[in-house]
Amino acid sequence: MMPFKALGENCDMTAIGERVHYLSLALDARRALNAIRAADKGNGRTDELRNSIRAATESLEILSTRADLYAKLSPGHYVQYEEIQTLREVSSSFEPGPPIEVLRSLLSGGEDMPTSGDLGLARKFFRALESRALHHYNDPISSDTFMA
């Protein structure tokens, strides 16, 4: 195989995302927001809260540790380019930084009720994620569901 001497300079491809994956991420974020709200009101199921935030939490952990996204098959985290790209955009601009610790505690928490502070931060994060995913979905140059 030839050496990739110009690999870095050639990554300026645009508009390679598929819209449906952005929609999928927005729906995931919306599910998490609904579960967080239910938990905040004390009438949600903890397993639904955990399931709704699992993929985002595990993906954020991988992104933060610069671990290898593609080295092995794993259904636990996001693998679609569109999902990873959007998650990275939101986490990099999120104040006060990616809420990994909060999400991890929600994910691993027992039957104890999460604090309203934790739920508030998680809510803020998933609102940002839903908005960003919808922004990409609405982008006129995003490709269609059709595949020629």
Partner: protein
């Protein structure tokens, strides 16, 4: 909150109206035209999703401003989901059975159902028309996942129908037969997404990149994502081409050559023209070049029983397949300034793609033996203007040693395509006063050949239909057999 709730009522009504507009056409139009069973399943899904969405909106409310902030975004997400279905509904309504080339596509679907993978035997494809000259596939596996996720927001939303594919055909190609062999590529997309082959090919691409250069390891993850995405998309296209070639044999690459005018690559001596490869050798961000794709089909078919027949064919398209085999990978790299560095990586992934194709078609007869037995007879029928629905095939020397055979769609398409590519002149010369130099007359006979093949494919499907006859002739049909 009163004023805000008025705004909210307005927003809810606007979304309700949007859903009503999108789905309303299904209710009003579907009764005025005939649709395939697959299209009807899709329309049923849309109607059920519309009903559940509207019910959800009618019950939708918030208690306070905090909940408003939390939930207002949900309406935008529901609207986005409906936009996703919006683009499919009208094309599907337009492709009623009077417009779509049902017999040929149905024949290819019957071939598809020979796959042993889960769900393939039950799979149906709804067809729609596209304005672009492209055969397209809607990623129903992705739509299915989307529909499942909608259920987390709208709990009584329907699931997307099982084993349903959506394929778009150029609106202009409704009457053609051979061009529609390209739907096999779209069926490949259906399988690729449903079997989630992309994840395995991502892993392979990552491994190849790591073994090829330390530069990749040093890249930012965002850059890696872009590279992996491009390679995965290219791999999917190649997979679908090989799927088409495996499903339909050489008539698939022949259709591909004709659709994209790839025979322009050949010069007068039947060799690759250095000048005329230029429009076909450039890679695109989402697609490998047409020439690379066709070369991979040639390499793939060379390993199959079909190659012996292709190598002896006088068709110019067969010549193209033969000469493309020898184009070196460096020629592709050289002509692709921007993306050329990734072509050797794609080439290194090819064995994995071929392995996945092998797994996909495990236990499926490639059809060549039957083709080689029936091809001459079918072409003899076509040369005499006879629909080759039922062939009388001799298996011995005695008069009664003749059996009747109904050729499969795979055999019919390949024999018909070969006849179309090599024997139109012969057919026309055998007809008194016919002039093979007149384009309208050539087109007339080409259309007739396609109609004969389509009719034979339709007849073959009728032979497979189970009919409950009336054994006593007294108006009581036989009970259905279990």
């Amino acid at each position: 909150m009163a004023e805000q709730r008025d705004y909210l009522r307005h927003d809810l009504t606007a979304l309700y109206a949007f859903i009503e507009c999108v789905a309303g056409g299904v209710v009003s139009r579907r009764n005025s035209a005939a649709y395939s069973a697959a299209a009807i399943r899709f329309f049923d899904f849309v109607e059920a999703l519309a009903a559940s969405s509207k019910n959800h909106l009618e019950r939708w409310s918030v208690d306070d401003s905090e909940e408003f902030e939390d939930r207002r975004g949900e309406l935008g997400t529901i609207r986005a989901a409906w936009r996703e279905f919006h683009k499919l509904i009208k094309p599907a309504l337009d492709a009623d059975t009077l417009q779509a080339p049902s017999a040929v596509v149905d024949g290819i679907v019957r071939r598809f159902r020979e796959l042993e993978l889960p769900g393939c035997k039950e799979t149906e494809f709804a067809l729609f028309h596209t304005s672009e000259f492209n055969y397209v596939q809607v990623h129903t596996a992705d739509l299915r996942r989307t529909a499942e996720k909608i259920r987390h927001i709208i709990p009584d939303a329907p699931l997307f129908p099982d084993n349903l594919g959506l394929i778009g055909l150029p609106y202009s190609q409704g009457r053609t037969a051979f061009a529609n062999c390209l739907v096999a590529h779209e069926m490949g997309h259906h399988i690729y997404r449903r079997m989630a082959y992309g994840a395995a090919l991502q892993v392979k691409a990552d491994a190849v990149l790591k073994s090829g250069s330390s530069t990749y390891e040093q890249m930012e993850q965002g850059q890696k994502d872009v590279v992996i995405k491009a390679l995965t998309q290219w791999s999917e296209e190649i997979f679908c081409d090989l799927f088409g070639a495996m499903l339909l044999g050489p008539c698939y690459p022949y259709s591909y050559i004709e659709a994209y005018d790839l025979s322009a690559i050949l010069d007068c001596n039947g060799l690759v023209s250095g000048d005329r490869i230029l429009p076909f050798i450039g890679f695109y961000e989402k697609y490998p070049s047409e020439m690379f794709r066709l070369q991979q089909q040639s390499i793939f078919l060379r390993e199959s029983p079909w190659w012996d027949h292709i190598s002896k064919s006088s068709a110019r398209y067969a010549t193209l397949l033969k000469v493309l085999h020898n184009v070196p990978i460096d020629a592709h790299v050289k002509e692709n300034d921007k993306l050329g560095y990734l072509i050797p990586v794609l080439d290194s992934i090819m064995p994995e793609i071929r392995r996945v194709i092998g797994n996909t078609f495990e236990g499926v007869d490639c059809g060549f033996v039957l083709f080689s037995q029936l091809n001459n007879t079918i072409q003899k029928y076509l040369a005499n203007g006879i629909v080759p629905s039922t062939l009388n095939v001799r298996y011995g020397n005695r008069p009664e040693e003749v059996t009747m055979v109904s050729p499969s769609p795979l055999v019919l398409l390949n024999s018909g395509m070969e006849f179309y590519l090599t024997r139109v002149n012969e057919l026309m010369c055998s007809i008194r006063d016919e002039d093979e130099t007149m384009f309208p007359r050539r087109l007339h006979w080409i259309r007739r050949i396609e109609e004969w093949i389509a009719k034979a494919i339709e007849d073959e499907s009728l032979e497979k239909e189970v009919i409950d006859v009336d054994p006593g002739g007294n108006g009581n049909p036989a009970p259905p057999q279990t």
